[in-house]
């Protein structure tokens, strides 16, 4: 007989303040981390760099999405400049490692810091304007950053605005294939994930939430809006910068065309589908947005050729557009089923199984 607790009852302060208050949740989190660490093994033994590369791009996006969710989901400040902040981090890392031979970790840290400074600067308008108006101000940030990289030769490195970097090396290990690169990215992802989880339940995180829910009320109860709005921009763009820098080391090239406006909008889509104001939602959203088009591409073509017997060449245009229709349809479907995103869905599943099979 398995006994299950009927509620959350803490008897110590440590227990109450723990990140995961339930033993089951702690076990799940540990198992998830272990799974993430072991994930490459089956792929590696199958020599499947393809799937590993997909996982890697998801991990990179998840880091960026967590950062954006801190700003948009937790603090309520809309930003369409996330791609721009990522570009700032990417170029900072690329310049340091290609021109000044700085090691990988310095490059990533510098990417984060530079993006943080840029992001904080462009966050200043948030003190005066809100909502859609702020969205337009951050849109300007995106365009200004793109323009600057494009036109300042020192930053962009010439007409092509691309800078190459070497494979990162740590303690003599060169990260030169998809599996190794995964282990390069994973620690940053875990840091970003658990860092964000801890941040949002701290004093700072509660201040963010207060600002989001009603900034005047927050100010009255003593939350320094000036400080916390800028802090949210700083933290968010630090995440973006780290993601951008990692992206640079992953592709071994910095090119601002990887961080255009459409990328910023994709990040917004990730956190909206994943769930605003949820760390795990950011990750689920990143998986949804990055994985689904690829899964569709792999299945739709396969189904058309093998089930319906139509050669790809005859229907390629249709299939490509059909995938977009399905993708868009699924976004609408998921949001219609659960407007609060995938995180809420995950929460509902957990709640259901807590009482299963004897729900009341």
């Amino acid at each position: 007989m398995i006994n299950r607790e009927s509620g959350v009852y803490q008897t110590t302060y440590e227990g109450d303040m723990a990140l995961y208050t339930l033993p089951l949740a702690r076990a799940t989190a540990l198992a998830a981390v272990a799974l993430l660490v072991l994930l490459p093994l089956p792929l590696w033994s199958a020599g499947n760099e393809h799937w590993m590369s997909i996982v890697n791009t998801i991990v990179l996006s998840a880091i960026g999405a967590i950062g954006l969710n801190i700003l948009v989901g937790y603090t309520g400040q809309i930003s369409i400049g996330h791609g721009g902040f990522m570009a700032a981090g990417a170029y900072a890392a690329a310049i340091l490692s290609s021109r000044y031979d700085m090691p990988f970790l310095v490059g990533v840290a510098a990417g984060g810091v530079v993006a943080m400074l840029v992001g904080t600067f462009f966050g200043i308008p948030s003190l005066r304007i809100k909502g859609l108006y702020l969205a337009i101000a951050t849109l300007a940030a995106q365009l200004i950053i793109e323009w600057t990289i494009n036109h300042v030769t020192w930053i962009g490195g010439g007409a092509q605005s691309t800078i190459y970097v070497q494979n990162p090396t740590i303690l003599g290990v060169e990260f030169d294939n998809e599996f190794r690169r995964y282990y390069l990215l994973l620690p940053f992802f875990l840091l970003a994930y658990f860092g964000a989880l801890n941040l949002v339940r701290s004093r700072v995180g509660r201040a963010f939430i207060a600002v989001r829910d009603r900034d005047i009320a927050a100010e009255i109860i003593g939350v320094d809006i000036f400080k916390y709005k800028l802090l949210a921009f700083a933290v968010s763009s630090f995440y973006a910068g780290v993601a951008g820098a990692l992206y640079t080391y992953y592709l071994r090239i910095a090119n601002y065309e990887q961080f255009t406006l459409i990328v910023s909008i994709q990040f917004l889509a990730m956190i909206i589908i994943g769930g605003l104001g949820s760390v795990i939602g950011s990750v689920l959203g990143a998986i949804f947005i990055k994985l689904l088009p690829i899964v569709l591409d792999l299945t739709v073509v396969g189904v058309s050729e093998n089930v319906f017997g139509v050669p790809y060449a005859r229907v390629a245009d249709f299939l490509a557009n059909f995938q977009l229709v399905v993708f868009g349809g699924l976004i609408i479907l998921f949001l219609a089923i659960e407007p609060q995103g995938l995180a809420r869905m995950w929460f509902n599943v957990k709640r259901y199984f807590r009482l299963w099979p004897f729900s009341y």
């Binding site: 760099e49 393809h50 996006s61 998809e178 690829i294 396969g302 790809y312 299939l319």
Partner: protein
């Protein structure tokens, strides 16, 4: 939503995914695998929708005729929607399937994939998608532009201008889309201008390139340019044609580089409006080539309607891609035998000599030092309702272009 319904939906979804995955896993032997990315839905879908069928049709034609030395080519096309992430995924997918030759589609994707090509020793071809510096195969052994790069296009454009009567003091304007691809030929333009003593000015059109009234007004009324070199993408070429026409500028003095010279650009501007417009091509236009006729015949033999795009500007570029890939694989098999590897295909590309495909291609000769194949282009002009040849294959200012390539190879 009820959890029970949700779990049912998920089960069905998992079954569908598993089934189709198992079905696609079926593979055949004795094939040579090549692959390429395509953009049928993204920023350049008008181009992708024509280039990619060109590649597929040519590969199909080769297979119909018995393949390469008896081996079929399996060409894997992967849609990436002009996104870098999906480009990486496409590359890895083709690599996993055993691809030995690849087409890289889109300038940012070409840049992002360059390190992978070099490490995995799989040659990537990038006709028209940039990387002028990759002309030097000693520095970039696995990147093949295989068609006139933007630098060579600029050199050729300036040569045409000179041959048509430009001399010291002539005023030449360069109007370009303000992105890396647009700026790539900028310094070649400025260098030739200085060398020839032209009075030159450059005009940037900021993305998304749908507003250029002030630039064109400046070119036609204030600068009073004698010649214009245009390097625009997407919707902007058609807008530039309309603006030049509106300002009374003779369109036969406007030379557009390769991405502003497709039928849909002319159509969007209006054929009437665009009369005389000069467009640069790195593959022939029209159906008057033996290989295009063979493709038309292939369609008719199968009892299918010949698509209207066959013979169009971008379709023929797709045929060029397929033909060069097939030729390199053929040379690899002929000289080094099976199994075909990326390295052998690279050597195959470097063995291409005077490969013209009955006039569809310029006399292409690829060497280790010249992965571009000579930088040949041809000007076509809009006359009536057709795009007709205006010059023969030519190239220009090779010394300047090669010097730039040398300089780029020396840079880190």
């Amino acid at each position: 939503m009820r959890i029970r319904t949700l779990s049912r939906v998920l089960t069905v979804a998992a079954l569908v995914l598993g089934l189709s995955g198992a079905l696609t896993a079926a593979l055949a032997d004795h094939e040579i695998v090549a692959g390429g990315q395509c953009d049928r839905t993204g920023a350049t879908k008008l181009v992708g929708e024509q280039i990619c069928p060109g590649v597929l049709d040519y590969v199909n034609l080769v297979n119909k005729k018995g393949g390469i030395e008896g081996h079929r080519i399996r060409y894997i096309e992967v849609e990436h929607g002009y996104q870098v992430d999906r480009g990486v995924e496409a590359y890895e997918r083709i690599k996993r399937e055993g691809g030995v030759a690849m087409l890289d589609y889109g300038t940012p994707i070409v840049y992002a994939l360059t390190p992978r090509h070099m490490e995995d020793k799989i040659p990537g071809i990038t006709p028209g998608f940039g990387r002028a510096d990759a002309t030097d195969g000693r520095k970039w052994p696995y990147i093949f532009p295989l068609a006139a790069t933007y630098w060579s296009q600029m050199g050729a454009g300036m040569k045409y201008v000179k041959d048509s009567g430009a001399r010291k003091g002539s005023k030449i304007a360069y109007i370009f889309y303000d992105n890396p691809a647009g700026r790539e030929p900028l310094h070649v333009f400025e260098r030739i201008c200085k060398q020839e003593g032209y009075g030159c000015r450059t005009f940037a059109v900021p993305p998304p390139g749908v507003e250029m009234a002030s630039q064109v007004l400046d070119i036609t009324r204030r600068m009073r340019a004698d010649w214009v070199i245009a390097h625009l993408f997407g919707k902007s070429p058609s807008i530039s044609i309309k603006e030049f026409k509106k300002n009374g500028f003779p369109l036969d003095k406007v030379v557009s580089l390769v991405w502003g010279a497709g039928e849909h650009d002319i159509l969007a501007a209006g054929w009437d409006t665009a009369q005389g417009y000069l467009g640069m091509q790195f593959a022939g236009v029209g159906r008057n080539f033996p290989v295009i006729q063979e493709i038309v015949k292939m369609y008719r033999d199968e009892g299918r309607e010949v698509p209207a795009t066959v013979g169009s500007v971008y379709y023929n570029r797709g045929v060029l891609v397929g033909a060069l890939m097939a030729e390199a694989i053929r040379l690899a098999v002929a000289h080094e035998g099976l199994p075909v590897t990326g390295e052998k295909v690279r050597n195959g590309y470097r063995r291409i000599r005077d490969f013209t495909l009955g006039g569809l291609l310029p006399p292409l000769t690829v060497t280790e030092a010249d992965h571009e194949g000579g930088g040949w282009v041809k000007l076509y002009q809009v006359r009536g309702t057709e795009i007709v040849a205006h010059t023969d294959w030519f190239h220009g200012y090779r010394d300047v272009v090669q010097d730039e390539v040398r300089k780029a190879a020396g840079k880190k």
